[in-house]
């Protein structure tokens, strides 16, 4: 075995790598916030919406969960182009990732809803809370608290999966890596460095979610229940 690694030509491209990492993080943040909102709304739609809405939410979730992310990205990319919408690769990537993670979030939040005991809801109703107040205080907040660890995993997974958007030339970390390795012929070194950067990004995201969790779920903080 003759392993001859040279990281210097890769590392001297650190500004591009940093840019790529920031774009990846940006994509992850947009998709987390927008996809999280879509997921919560669709979970509510599936649980309490009129049959048509519930069915549409279900079709959306199953459609996304049973097709590859890359194909979804191409569908958004070429779909928008075919109706004459010329959006940047970055916008398309953010859109596709949002649609994707929204479906998975729907499933996770729905599981959270189902874990809420019927007695809890009746207790809220018995106190005179309106249906919307029951939804917010008795169903949504405790459900999100309960599935928060799963949501964290899903959003970190999404950040890693965003590497696929390099296929439509979104300038995220993997796209930058592809460019660097074709330029330097140091493919192995490039992807080692990039893998490490992804690890750091994952840790940053987990730390961020942990911090947010501590902030919005005081019970976890005060009782030391692990998130």
């Amino acid at each position: 075995m003759n392993l001859n690694l040279d990281f210097s030509v890769v590392l001297e491209r650190w500004p591009s790598l940093l840019d790529g990492a920031m774009v990846t993080l940006q994509l992850a943040c947009i998709a987390t916030v927008a996809g999280g909102a879509i997921g919560i709304l669709c979970a509510i739609g599936r649980r309490s919406g009129p049959p048509v809405v519930a069915a549409l939410c279900e079709i959306y979730v199953e459609g996304i969960r049973n097709t590859p992310l890359l194909v979804q990205i191409f569908l958004v990319y070429f779909g928008l182009a075919s109706i004459g919408l010329q959006l940047s690769a970055m916008t398309v990537a953010a859109l596709a990732l949002t649609i994707n993670v929204g479906a998975y979030t729907t499933e996770i939040v729905r599981a959270g809803f189902e874990s809420i005991n019927k007695g809890q809801i009746e207790a809220g109703q018995g106190l005179g809370l309106s249906p919307a107040q029951v939804y917010w205080h008795v169903i949504l907040l405790p459900a999100i608290e309960r599935v928060y660890p799963s949501l964290t995993s899903q959003f970190v997974l999404l950040m890693l999966a965003s590497s696929v958007t390099s296929q439509i030339s979104a300038e995220e970390l993997t796209a930058v890596a592809n460019y660097i390795q074709s330029d330097t012929y140091r493919a192995f070194e490039t992807y080692i460095v990039v893998a490490l950067i992804y690890v750091v990004l994952s840790l940053v995201m987990r730390a961020g979610f942990f911090g947010i969790g501590q902030l919005i779920f005081p019970r976890r903080r005060r009782l030391g229940t692990p998130l």
Binding site: N117, G119, Q120, E122, A123, G124, Q125, G126, L127, G128, L129, S130, Q133, H137, V138, L141, P142, E145, F217, R219, R222, L223
Partner: protein, 252 residues
């Protein structure tokens, strides 16, 4: 069986059930149930599992809709589709067997949620109220505890305090001690006895026969979806029907 006469003051009863029918599918759970609960009095509903006693209680707070008959609670015509559900629930407090404190909120937050969200009470005032109702159930020191940090008896007392904070005119208790061991049962029953002494109108479904006898102004014995026997607590000592005699014989 005809409804019991209204209270001596001549007021309408706090709760009146008239010929209430309710089925779940083909299963007839309430088969013409009628009784009155005079204001300021305590009615206990007893009977075997499946006799319809919990369903009767839940119908009072419209957790179940009745098929036929009439239920009037503090002037609210519960059986009518036009019922103002929110107004009904402001007048009626209900406590369940499984406590149902909200797990993500402290005892204090559990108590102030409804007063602030429903009655728009200022937070400071609601906190003051929380202290007061917790003192009433002997749980002042658990103000900032989470439900999971409390024993079953403490959780149930917290749930009673949460209900009291809405200052209901009628309190319903649905087998509130069934999940508790005898010692914890005692501390919850003491709280309920104090409420009775304070003149709260209450309807209790209970399996605690000694308690039912001690606290009740009126006992309703339900059997197969009907009010089989109704009267003062004394009917438990001298049952008129064989079914009640049998039930008391096994229940005591």
């Amino acid at each position: 069986m005809s409804p019991a006469p209204t209270s001596a003051t001549g007021q309408d009863p706090a709760v009146r059930l008239s010929d209430v029918h309710k089925s779940f599918g083909t299963n007839k759970v309430l088969d013409g149930v009628s009784f009155d609960v005079p204001r300021g009095s305590v009615t206990t509903i007893i009977g075997r599992s499946g006799s319809g006693k919990s369903t009767a209680l839940r119908c009072i707070d419209r957790f179940e809709r009745i098929d036929r008959g009439e239920i009037t609670v503090c002037g609210h015509r519960v059986h009518e589709p036009s019922l103002d559900l929110r107004a009904l629930r402001l007048d009626v407090g209900i406590v369940f067997q499984s406590y149902n404190l909200f797990p993500h909120l402290t005892v204090e937050e559990n108590i102030i949620l409804a007063p602030t969200a429903v009655k728009k009470m200022p937070k400071a005032e609601a906190r003051e109220l929380a202290r007061r109702v917790l003192a009433q159930v002997g749980l002042e020191e658990k103000l900032h505890a989470y439900p999971e940090q409390l024993s079953g008896g403490q959780q149930q007392r917290g749930a009673i305090a949460r209900s009291l904070a809405m200052q209901p005119k009628v309190m319903l208790f649905d087998e509130v001690t069934s999940a508790l061991d005898p010692e914890l049962t005692g501390e919850v029953l003491k709280v309920i006895e104090q409420l009775a002494a304070d003149g709260m109108t209450m309807v209790l479904v209970t399996h605690e026969m000694a308690f039912a006898r001690g606290i009740a102004d009126q006992v309703v014995f339900m059997h197969r979806g009907k009010v089989h026997e109704i009267g003062p607590a004394a009917i438990l000592s001298s049952p008129a029907t064989q079914e009640l005699a049998q039930f008391v014989g096994t229940g005591l």
